[in-house]
Amino acid sequence: MSLTKKYLGVSAFAASFAFAGFAQADVCDTPSKLGDMGSFAGDVITIAGSMEGKDEEMLLNTVNCFEKATGAVIKYSGSRDFAALIVADLRSNNAPNISIFPQPGLAGDMAKEGHLVPLGDELASWMTNNYGAGSSWVDLGTYSNAAGKKDFYGFAYKMDLKSLVWYSPEQFEDNGYEIPTTMEGLIALSDQMVADGNTPWCIGVESGNATGWTATDWMEDLMLRTTSPEKYDMWVSNELPFNSPEVLNAMEVYGQFSRNDDYVAGGASSVATTFFGDAPKGLFSSPASCLMHRQASFIPAFFPKKGEEVANGEADFFYFPPYESANLGNPVLGAGTLWTMTKDSPATRAFFEFMTEASAHEAWMSQGTFLTAHKGADLSAYATPALRKQGEILSNATTFRFDASDLMPGAIGAGAFWSEMTAFANGQDAQTTGDNIQAAWDAIK
């Protein structure tokens, strides 16, 4: 029985690769050539992460390039419960070779427990020189271990650009709306939409046990637009408390959007219960239930036609604009997944070398929903012009800040911040929300 099963499994695997290869005209055939990766015939590299479905398919297609080059075998296991499972696996000596952390907070916790293997200074200095805003990416993956020694652990690969507002150009044309370039203009446009009997925004923060994270993205974008980047950094490290006037002000501004029954499709009370991936579907329903949606670069995968809309012009995005009056420049917010080594092996080391190759980035760029800060990657490899536009913003970034909730300790950034912002969506006032998060932070200090 078991043998038959194994055989079936292997053939299914082979079949899925064959199919993927057929559907995607060889993703490994990239503009940049892949260097010599060595030979690791038969060596198994296990990878654990949270990507599933389409994302998982693209990941498998990409790592397949490494398999073809070296003969190594990569086994990926993805689960939406990654954050819970990886902790159990690491603590019980069942570590995979590579763990892909969606949040630096959790990676930092695991480094402190001594479960991560340092990637070495060479890789860190490579990243400083070859990534746009490189040193901040290195900082993102640098944590201290139990002894307090700081090392580079997390290799950022596959990035998202936040600060984008998605809309349907045709709807804008039908209604006679112009794309705003200032926050004042955006608010005026929203009011205009309300006056016209339209609903401007689709907002949803439900996301299973991560409910509330979309609200934290809004908060971060608004922090960058209402106060200085320096204050933002202080907020991340809690030098600026959560119940300080700056933070509460940003929360109130977010409330002006999300807690306004006229602004939000389905009314303000629907925000907490709308799945974040269903929210943008309102742009494309007949008739459209909203006209704008603020979300990161990955969101087209949630559109009804899985992002084809962007390619054929049914959907486009504009930059979430800053206040003209605040004079804070054009801040950009982003995030990335962190690839960490949780079990050392020569083949695994070689895989991290592989990720420094421009070709490894281009292979995924050509499949979609993948952005990179790698300066050597050929922008022409991006699957769509829209992705290219985002990629340019990312690799040329100067004023760039990371998702604050990702940088905060896990108990806050993936805990109290999420849950309290959900409570805020359900009607809790800003002061209480700020006080509660600050109290949670004080408790772990």
Binding site: G9, G42, R80, A88, S92, D174, G277
Partner: protein, 408 residues
């Protein structure tokens, strides 16, 4: 008479409450993805008015024309070979910005639902459509019109299709593999605990040994240990065993120290052991209470005739305990079949060995966008427990009373 009517009514109500979700699941799994997301399953059986977007023409080809003719249904069904939309076109939503009649400096947005037969202005052309979907778009002078997407409301006929099932069962081997994996896990995880428990239950019921009652109390009290509490120690244990097994494997087979020698700590065997451990207390408790109720005289006469414990057990106890054994197997089978969390933490995690509940969870995709696949897979996963239950239900009902009526 009245009580009988009442109880029949209550029974019918309970059946209704249980059948509705089933009908919902099955009917949703047979509908198209977009339709299932826009209108509830109860609308699936009768013509329902739903909104669609269709494009008036394909990419503007630059040819200058006076008019474009086409059919809305053809446009909608162009790239599809299933779930073809049919029915009657009711209206098209048209939006225009005009000068505000009250304030000539401002503009005003006008939205209008245009019924069939009425002429409307679309990109300076006259657009008119019929209930059967035919439309004409005429211009006063020759132009090459840019395509336009319009919101159309169609009173559409019910459409069902088995596309999701075909995709789930034949497009890749994920679901068939998961079915096999689930059987590999479930069958031993049912048989092993029931075998051990039957022996233990006999000993607790009919054999004299010191501390018997205390031991029984301890076993029974283990039922309250929550599974979640034990994950980490269990996993640590398995990883210890796996490294021993790897070393043994290397020593025995003399294989090189590569991954081929590696014995996985998360495997089907770990699942069997874990499910056995957590199933045993209840199994022992249920079976012991049943076995203790068997007629004492029967066993005593067997003893007098010189039967050993093993003979009594195999020749008398086992045949007499079939209802209790069967009912516990159903419990254990259903519990293991539907288990997600133990499999997630302790089971094998490579793509081809995932058990059904994990596959179901993954079926939804990172983007929770494959609801149709989830529904179809859920129906498939239900078939096995339903079959098991139906084929063994007479034992199940008898077994529910196991231990409650003492004989002898």
């Amino acid at each position: 008479m009245i009580t009988k009517t009442l109880s029949n009514f209550v029974l019918a109500l309970i059946v209704f409450i249980w059948v509705v979700p089933f009908v919902a699941l099955v009917s949703t799994s047979l509908r198209s993805e977009t339709e299932a997301k826009t209108a509830g399953f109860w609308t699936a059986f009768t013509p329902t008015e739903l909104g669609h977007r269709f494009s008036t023409n394909d990419k503007s080809d630059g040819n200058k024309v006076f008019s474009i003719k086409g059919n809305i249904f053809e446009r909608l069904n162009k790239d599809k070979n299933s779930f073809l939309v049919s029915g009657e076109v009711k209206s098209i939503l048209i939006k225009q910005r005009i000068t505000d009649p009250d304030n000539s400096e401002k503009t005003k947005l006008v939205k209008k639902l245009v019924p069939a037969g009425e002429v409307m202005k679309v990109r300076n052309g006259d657009f008119v459509f019929k209930g059967n979907g035919d439309f004409t778009w005429t211009f006063s002078k020759e132009t090459s019109p840019k395509p336009k997407n319009l919101d159309v409301f169609i009173n559409q006929n019910p459409i069902f299709g088995a596309d999701a099932y075909i995709e789930v069962l034949f497009d890749n081997k994920n679901v068939p593999n998961a079915l096999i994996s689930s059987f590999i896990v479930t069958i031993p995880a049912t048989i092993i605990p029931i075998t051990i428990a039957a022996f233990a239950a006999y000993a607790f019921a009919w054999m004299q040994f010191p501390g018997r009652d205390w031991l029984f109390v301890i076993v029974v009290s283990l039922m309250v240990v929550p599974t979640q509490l034990a994950f980490l120690p269990i996993l640590q244990g398995f990883s210890g065993i796996a490294s021993w097994a790897t070393a043994l494997n290397q020593w025995l087979t003399d294989c090189e120290i590569t991954d081929s020698c590696q014995v996985a700590s998360k495997s089907f065997a770990s699942l069997w052991i874990t499910h056995t451990a957590f199933g045993l207390p209840l199994a022992i408790y249920l079976l012991r209470n049943y076995i203790v109720g068997l007629p004492k005289e029967l066993l005593q006469s067997a003893r007098i005739d010189g039967a050993s414990h093993l003979q009594i057990f195999t020749k008398l106890i086992i045949p007499l305990s079939v209802p209790a054994l069967a009912s516990f197997s159903i419990f254990q089978f259903l519990w293991v079949w539907n288990d997600l969390i133990v499999a997630l933490y302790i089971g094998p995690n490579n793509a081809s060995d995932l058990v059904f509940p994990i596959r179901l969870q993954k079926q939804l995709g990172t983007f929770k966008d494959q609801l149709h696949l989830l529904n179809a897979s859920a129906v498939i996963s239900m078939i096995v427990p339903v079959l098991v239950f139906l084929s063994m239900q007479r034992y199940f009902i008898r077994g529910l009373l196991a231990g409650s009526v003492k004989g002898g």
